[in-house]
């Protein structure tokens, strides 16, 4: 038990359950509370971004109807929507939320290894969100440079929020990166150092693998954003010329000379592409566990799944310039980046096959989490395949800058991970609260979201092939190749978007309502094998495991093992005892 002593040493003080409300729910160092704090803030700011997308859709569907959406507002909405969704919602929710909640529980630890730093991570994240929100109220409003924040436009007149807004944005990003680094160090070190006895790396559930790898990607990639944010702030405030070339802005010569806008793009995408996988890999991992649990079948090809996650993680650092095929960089780079980008499709495809093969010959329970997980497979296959268009340099040229790109990244980075987020919440809500979410509301939520989002994005692909450019406030009739049918379909897309947005309120209602009125769930309502379902209490108390840490004897996917009396064997059940009443066994040693 030498190791247990090490793992526990940091928590001796923490094991005394804090009693006061503030210590328990506000200044908490408990990973479960921090996870919920992260999730609440992320969802709250995500709702702001959702509202912005609704406003954008209103403008596109019914131009000139809503006087309060001027062009600069539209570009501010675009920018904020993108940035919030990618960074402040998805990254924060998957790593700060699910990572925090699941890593210690799934690895059999009492908490993160650095609980104080973990708490600090959340508060700094909150500060980043507040600075971001403050940026919406400064003179000139938030930046409207697009979420890519390309210089020179980001800090030159002509772009909304080019003076104050962009500084708030960059400052907020820098603060977020500090918060993420504190969190990420925790996630990685906890996985490496605080697993319980018997939890070998290859016995970890894929959720942990996904979050672990994504955290490493984040730790190595976010510095690129940090570097570019610092240098752009200096360009704007001090007048350095890191990114700013000699320009004549609004007819007036500027104080800059010699900087390289492409340098920023390289730095940004060096972060930006791994960022895609920072969001995707936790989703991959979580969805694997959802599929396995609800199909009552072991995940198919576990080892291949782990290798694929690692391969994708490594490759994601050598594909960044596929966002820059027609940025003006040396076009010869296109050969290299098209090749690496298409290679990354192989491990990704393997993951898709293995998910489908997990369902194949399973015992598929179409529970609400399972609906979302299968919905994810469909949307991800769709979004992943359109990625093959944009990753292949020649095919990308006519499609880049059009609605095809919008459709692609919303399918692959918006809808797909969000479906996983929903599935995961329906799946783990019982563990977090002790109550089930309402199933009928859950099904309404699923069907409306799944079908509604597809109705939004499927036509957009074809608008993109026609050549309809993205990031346009309005499509005047003077663009000759855009027929009136485009305006009609834009109205339909807007109606679908309003519908999908409205249905999310059903979900929020369900979250709140079930807290008190949901059906009591018991300890392990899905009859799952992973450790978080084997805690002595539901919801788990401070320290997670009561007096003794669990001991793991098997991998996370012993579902429907032949000759076993039940169709699942929890990880902490010793080999000689295949009954699922594992908890007593788990703590005995």
């Amino acid at each position: 038990m030498a190791f247990v002593a090490i793992a526990d040493r940091d928590h001796e003080h923490a094991l005394h359950d804090p009693q006061s409300f503030i210590r328990k729910y506000i200044w908490s160092q408990d990973h479960k509370v921090i996870a919920v704090q992260y999730a609440i803030v992320a969802i709250a700011i995500g709702l702001v971004a959702l509202t912005m997308s609704v406003l954008m859709r209103l403008q596109l569907g019914f131009p000139d109807t809503f006087a309060f959406i001027a062009p600069e507002n539209y570009y501010q909405f675009i920018t904020m929507h993108g940035m919030i969704m990618v960074i402040y919602l998805l990254t924060a929710l998957f790593l700060g939320g699910f990572g925090n909640y699941l890593i210690p529980l799934m690895c059999g630890s009492r908490d993160m290894v650095f609980p104080y730093m973990n708490m600090l991570s959340f508060w700094v994240y909150l500060l980043a969100v507040l600075v971001l929100v403050a940026g919406m109220f400064v003179p000139g409003g938030p930046t409207g440079a697009g979420w890519t924040l390309y210089p020179p436009q980001a800090i030159l007149p002509g772009t909304p929020g080019a003076s104050w807004g962009i500084i708030c944005m960059l400052a907020s990003l820098a603060i977020f990166i500090v918060a993420f680094t504190m969190g990420g160090l925790n996630y990685v070190t906890t996985v490496l150092q605080a697993r319980c006895r018997g939890m070998t790396l290859m016995r970890m559930p894929l959720s942990v693998w996904g979050i672990f790898t994504a955290s490493i990607l984040g730790l190595l990639a976010f510095p690129a954003l940090f570097v570019s944010a610092v240098m752009m702030m200096l360009d704007s405030l001090v007048g350095t010329s890191f990114f700013m070339p000699a320009v004549a802005s609004m007819g007036e010569p500027s104080r800059y000379s010699g900087g390289s806008p492409l340098l920023f793009q390289h730095l940004f995408w060096f972060f930006g592409h791994p960022e895609v996988y920072i969001v995707a890999l936790p989703a991959f991992g979580i969805v694997s566990d959802l599929l396995s649990t609800h199909a009552r079948r072991n995940i198919f090809g576990y080892r291949m799944m782990v290798w694929a996650i690692l391969a994708i993680g490594c490759l994601s650092f050598v594909v960044w310039a596929h966002h820059m095929y027609i940025s003006g960089m040396n076009p010869y780079f296109g050969f290299f980046f098209a090749t690496t980008t298409l290679i990354i499709a192989v491990p990704t495809a393997i993951k898709v096959y293995n998910w489908v093969l997990t369902i194949w010959r399973g015992d598929v329970h179409l529970t609400v989490p399972m609906l979302f997980a299968i919905g994810f497979i469909f949307t991800f296959v769709n979004g992943g395949l359109t990625g093959l268009f944009l990753g292949n340099v020649t095919v990308d040229v006519p499609l880049s800058g059009t609605y095809f790109v919008v459709a692609h990244f919303h399918m692959v980075m918006g809808v797909s991970p969000i479906l996983v987020v929903f599935g995961a919440i329906y799946h783990w809500y019982p563990k977090m609260t002790g109550r089930m979410l309402d199933e009928t509301l859950g099904k309404i939520h699923f069907w409306a979201t799944f079908i509604g989002t597809y109705a939004i994005y499927l036509p957009m692909h074809y608008l993109g092939i026609l050549g309809v450019p993205r990031r346009y406030y309005a499509y005047s009739n003077s663009i000759e190749f855009i027929p009136p049918s485009v305006h009609e379909v834009n109205q339909w897309i807007t109606i679908s978007a309003l519908f999908v947005a409205a249905v999310q309120m059903v979900f929020l209602f369900n979250l709140v309502w079930s807290l008190r009125h949901g059906k009591p769930s018991g300890d392990n309502p899905w009859r799952a094998t992973t450790l978080e379902w084997q805690t002595p209490d539901t919801p788990p108390k401070h320290g997670n495991w009561g007096k003794d840490l669990p001991v793991v004897y098997r991998w996370a996917y012993d579902y429907s093992v032949p000759s076993a009396p039940q169709d699942f064997i929890p990880q902490n059940v010793p080999p000689d005892d295949r009954t699922p009443a594992g908890r007593e066994h788990g703590v005995k040693s």
Partner: protein, 225 residues
């Protein structure tokens, strides 16, 4: 940029190799061992592992700054050659020496604490920190020197990078000094009961060596260009 990509590929590769190769090909569904305990139990202090992970992050940060430096110098496609070389102030050589001494003192302190020589370890730690503060003072002096140069203008990327790189490095040292001060208080002779600071001193030493290594890299880059 490609240098950074290579670094990250290397870092991930080493991680994968170190962590996984042993267990990589294990078939976890078969390996229900006697009593079910796997053999790759973690055995290092979390703080030590945490520090090494953090150093990987910092390496990524500095590697990216250096990649940006290299590309901005005009090695990238389409760059403009407006790089006006900076004559680095001579005081940087003195500063480098100070940082080497700081690092050496830390090492001495670490050697003593493992031998149980707490008083000497304390002295070493104190001296190491003081050398570091002297280094930071020297860096500030160098900033003033550069300010007086003809080449000083925010538009000159050589100047801008000099300030940014030294500032980022200095901030990391300041962070180190925070931990250093905490350790120094814990090891204070006036404390009634001694606290085990072996790990703290060890980690400080590693961190100082690392930042010395980074500084030598930065200094070489600044001198060479």
């Amino acid at each position: 940029m490609s240098a950074t990509a290579a670094y990250i590929a290397l870092a991930t590769g080493i991680l994968v190799w170190a962590l996984l190769v042993r267990r990589f090909t294990a078939k976890p569904w078969e390996a229900v061992l006697e009593r079910g305990i796997g053999d790759d139990l973690p055995n290092s202090a979390p703080a030590r592992v945490g520090l090494w992970v953090f150093l990987a992050v910092v390496t990524s940060l500095f590697a990216l700054f250096m990649s940006a430096y290299y590309m901005r110098m005009g090695h990238g496609h389409g760059a403009v050659h407006d790089w006006s070389t900076l004559a680095e102030p001579a005081v940087l050589w003195v500063n480098s020496l100070l940082l080497i001494l700081a690092s050496a003192s830390m090492q001495w302190s670490r050697a003593n604490i493992t031998r149980g020589q707490i008083a000497r370890a304390r002295d070493g730690l104190l001296i190491g920190g003081l050398f570091t503060i002297a280094f930071l003072g020297g860096q500030l002096y160098a900033w003033r020197e550069v300010r007086g140069l003809d080449a000083f203008t925010p538009g000159n990327p050589a100047v801008a990078f000099f300030y940014v790189l030294t500032a980022v490095h200095g901030l990391h040292l300041l962070g180190g000094l925070f931990v250093w001060a905490k350790t120094l208080i814990r090891i204070s002779p006036r404390r009634p009961e001694p606290i085990d600071v072996r790990l703290s001193i060890e980690l400080c030493t590693v961190y100082w060596h690392y930042l010395l290594f980074v500084w030598i890299g930065l200094f070489a880059l600044l001198i060479a260009t």
